[in-house]
Amino acid sequence: MRRGTFALIFAACAAGCAADTVAVESQAVDLWSTDGACRGVLVPDPDPPRTGRTDYAVTLTDAAGAPLEGATLTFVPFMPAHGHGTSQPTVVEEIGGGAYRATVFYNMVGRWELTVGVVAGTLSDELEFDQQVVE
């Protein structure tokens, strides 16, 4: 009986270890901001994002479709199921022509909310992206 119990545990473990990795679809997102003041395209690298460092290319346009330049962006990653964010501050760099680059450090596998605050002149709005982070 004892031998059988241990065999069952190891069989379950081995089955899990041998399973193929399940593919996660691209987490690139194109969406309007919460108040509709701007639109953002978010492309992670790697895609899907992984634990550790993920670089994001962000392209912003205003409501009229013109590139949104000179904006101040803040990135706030939050894992709602477990109630935490990340420890590392996000570094944001403007490339020009409405393009920005940001680096986010995720510390856990799972679904994250990535809130991008956008302030440009009188415009102040938020983009709320869902990101499925893999290991």
């Binding site: 004892r2 069952l8 473990c13 894992m79 109630g83 590392q88 510390n107």
Partner: protein, 322 residues
Amino acid sequence: MSARAASLATAAIAIFAIVAAVAPASAARAQACCTATSGGEIGTVGPCYRATLTAQVAWDHAFGSWDGEGEYRPLRAMSADDVTTMLAGGVRFASQSLFVRGAAPMRLQHRAFEAGESSTRVGLGDVSGALGATILEDPQGGIDWSDPSTLVPFVELALGVRAPTGRAPAQTQDVTGADVMGDGAWELSLEAKTTKFVTGRNSITLAAQYGHRFEHDAGDRRFQPGEAISLRASWLHLPSLFWSFGAFGTLAVTTDVSVDGETVPGSGTRRLRAGAFVSHALSFPEWELTATLASDALFDGGGEDLPLAGTTLALAVQRAFF
């Protein structure tokens, strides 16, 4: 054998059996989402003891994770290992019918990502305690269907508390999260447990626990963890006074969380674990050594929405006081 000698032998077997059944099964309780698998609560003091003191070392190794739909994904590009040293104890009083117990874990956690980030951190985990009562006692001789008094099981109720003494997920300062040592929430729990000696050498334990974790800050948000419910079943066999072994299974479920007062759909978790243990009396009946091997059900549907799942190997030494 005299009647007194026989009753002493029966009591000794019962003590050994109860502790062996309770401690390893308790060690399989699911813990914080951010730990590899589990450390668990130990330190339960059997009805025939005055007190117990236990030291346990457990190694948790993560093999995979489950997403929100219960799909299992093996870890390919990260590793997570925990070594948890637990000191636990319990005391009985009021004619042995009431007990208090407590446990304090010290955790060493290693996380490494393929991209290069790697970290090992040490810290105190969440300290827990409980106050309980034994309200029914099994005569421990096994079931004799012609004698209804032999059907009575052990029944215990306990009110527990867990303090967020470990670093909370929202307070992590490490890029890998290796410094997350606890849940970050106070928890009050109620546990009901019954153990029945179906024969003189075999017992079955069933336990259910409900835990309420309190709302707390998570950065600039208010976070309400889900309610925690766990069920546990274990079996113990006693081939001799000095050896025992058995198996157990646990199912732990948490309901959806709330962030800033809004429920997050699909954020509940589920975890199914199974394991086996073997115990040996180093110096009967005071000293006992228990080895436990447990594993999450590492396949699709074996869990849900948990970032780390794996196996646990634990070794515990217990000193009993009479």
